[in-house]
C-alpha cells in the first residue's frame, strides 16, 4: 500500500459574518493526490469555507494545518504572518475562480498571466519563462498561438484553462476550484473535466472542488463533504455518499441528480 502524505488538516473551522454563521465546526483531512468535493446549495457555507481555506479571509476560529515541507510537521495557516501566507498563496496552492475576472488579469496576455506565477519562482530569463508558459498551455490543451492574446477575448472554457495553467505552473500541492464548470455549455464542460482529470492524475496534485453540480463531483471527486446551513451534514467516499445517502438533505440532493 502506498503511504500518502497528508497535506491538509482542518480542525473546527468556523467563521462568522457579524452575528451570522458563515460556516461552523468544519473538520476534515486531505491527502496528496486526493480530490475532495464540497457540495451544497447557495447559502450552505461552501463559499465561506473555500475563502477561509484558500487564505482570502481569516476564519473566526479553528485551524488550517498545511504541509509546507514534507519533512516538517504541518503548520497552522491561521497563525503564520501575512507575508508568509501571501508567498504560499502564490506558489503552494491556487484558486480557479468562478468568474475569470477574479482569477486572471484580463488585459495582460495569456503568457503574461502564467509568467507572473513563474516569475515568483525567481526565473529571470525571458525565453525560459515564455517556453514554460507555452508548455503549460499545451498541457491544458490551449492553442499555443494565443500566448500573446488577451484573455479578455477568450471563451469561457479557454479562460478556465488559462487559470488552471497559471496555477499549475508553480507546481502547487493543492488546487481549489470554485464552480469550475459554471457558465459553460455541456460539451465544453465535458472537455474541461477530461483535461482536469488527466492533469490531476499525472501531477498527483490534490484538489478541492466546490460545486452545486452533483454530476461534476460524481465524475471528478474521490471524497465528498455535504454542507447545509454552514455545517457538514454528511461526508465520505463520493460513490458511497451519492449512491447510498444517509442524511435526509443528501437524499434530497441526490434525488434530483442528472445521470451523466
Amino acid at each position: 500500500m502506498i503511504v500518502k502524505d497528508k497535506i491538509l488538516e482542518v480542525k473546527n473551522l468556523t467563521h462568522y459574518y457579524g452575528e451570522q454563521v458563515g460556516c461552523e465546526d468544519i473538520s476534515f483531512d486531505l491527502y496528496q493526490g486526493e480530490i475532495l468535493g464540497i457540495v451544497g446549495e447557495s447559502g450552505s457555507g461552501k463559499s465561506t469555507l473555500l475563502k477561509c481555506l484558500s487564505g482570502q479571509i481569516s476564519p473566526s476560529q479553528g485551524m488550517i494545518n498545511f504541509c509546507i515541507d514534507k519533512s516538517q510537521p504541518l503548520q497552522d495557516l491561521c497563525k503564520i504572518s501575512e507575508q508568509k501566507k501571501r508567498a504560499l498563496m502564490r506558489k503552494e496552492w491556487g484558486i480557479v475562480q468562478q468568474n475569470p475576472r477574479d482569477g486572471l488579469r484580463l488585459r495582460v496576455s495569456a503568457g503574461g498571466n502564467i509568467a507572473e506565477r513563474i516569475i515568483n519562482e525567481e526565473i529571470k530569463n525571458y525565453s525560459k519563462i515564455r517556453n514554460k508558459a507555452l508548455e503549460w498551455m499545451d498541457k491544458t490543451e490551449m492553442e499555443k498561438s494565443r500566448i500573446d492574446d488577451f484573455p479578455l477575448n477568450f471563451s469561457g472554457g479557454m479562460q478556465q484553462r488559462l487559470q488552471i495553467s497559471k496555477i499549475l505552473s508553480s507546481n502547487p500541492k493543492l488546487v481549489y476550484m470554485d464552480e469550475p464548470t459554471g457558465g459553460l455549455d455541456v460539451s465544453v464542460q465535458a472537455k474541461l473535466l477530461d483535461t482536469i482529470t488527466i492533469i490531476v492524475r499525472d501531477l498527483n496534485v490534490s484538489m478541492i472542488i466546490v460545486s452545486h453540480d452533483l454530476a461534476v463531483v460524481k465524475f471528478l471527486t474521490d471524497k465528498l463533504l455535504v454542507m447545509k446551513s454552514g455545517k457538514v451534514v454528511e461526508s465520505g467516499l463520493t460513490d458511497r455518499v451519492l449512491d447510498d445517502p444517509q442524511h435526509s438533505y443528501t437524499q434530497l440532493l441526490t434525488s434530483s441528480i442528472l445521470q451523466v
Binding site: 501575512e82 507575508q83 501571501r86 508567498a87 502564490r90 488579469r105 495582460v108 496576455s109 503568457g111 503574461g112 509568467a115 507572473e116 506565477r117 516569475i119 515568483n120 529571470k124 530569463n125 525571458y126 525565453s127 519563462i129 515564455r130 500566448i147 500573446d148
Partner: protein
Amino acid sequence: MIDGFNFAYLDEATKRMIRRTILKAICIPGYQCPFGGREMPLAYGWGTGGIQVTASIIGINDTLKVIDQGADDTTNAISIKNFFKKVCKIETTEDTEKATIIQTRHRIPEKKLSENQILVYQVPQPEPLRRLEPKEQETRKLHAYEEYALMHVKLYEEISHFGSVIKTYAYPVRTNKRYITDPSPTPKFDNPKMDFMEALQLFGAGRERRIYAIPPYTSVQSLDFEDHPFQIQTWDERCDICGSNNSYLDEIIINDKGEKKFICSDTNYCEKNLKT
C-alpha cells in the same frame, strides 16, 4: 531672517522634520518615506519636493546649481535658483564641479559626481508600480512583501509585444537589491550613473509627500531579463556644438523644412567640452 523669511524659507521645525525623514530614507535605500510636506510658493508638480529637500539641507556655505532638462537656463531652473537666491543669499553656480548641492529635473549631469556633493532629484510620481496598481494601500504591501512579479510581467509584456522593453525614461531600478525605485523621469541613458554613485542621491516628491534616498556607493540595477539585458540610448549623430558622442543629445528643429541638429542636453558639460 532675510526679508521676513527664515533662512531657506521653511521654519526650523519643518526643516528638522524633513531632515529626520531624509535620515530614515538613507537608512532604507530606495524606500519611499512619507513626510508632512508643506505648500510652497511654487506649484505642486513644479519641484516643491526637491525644493523642500534642498531647503532642509542647504547651509550658508553651500554652492547651489539648479538644472532642468540638463540646462541651467531653462525657465523653471532659473525660477527655482532665484527663489533660493532670495531666501538664502547663498552662492550659485552653473559649474557642475563647483556645486555642493545640485537640484535637478529629468537629468543627471554628465560629469561624474564626487563624495562631497548631493544630488537632489525632483520627482512627480515616486511610486514605480503606480501605473500597474493605482491603490496606495496595495502598493505599500507589494513593497513590504517584496512582491515584484507584476513589474517583471510588465517588462515581459513589452518584450512579447514590441520585441524589447519600451520604457525610455523613469526606467525602474532595484536599489540595494531590495526596493524597486523610480529614478524620476530621467532618461534610461542616465540609469548607469546611479549605480555606486559617490554622491548622495536624494529624491523629493512634494505633491505625493514622499522622500527617498540612495546613499553613496549603493547598488542600483535597472530591471531586465538575462536574455534581454538593459540597454541605454545611443545616437548616430554627435553634438553640433562640442562634438561629443557620449552624452545625451537634444534634438532641435532648425528650419521650416524640419531639418534637425543635435546638441548636448547638459549645457555645462557641453561648454567645458568645447573649451578643451
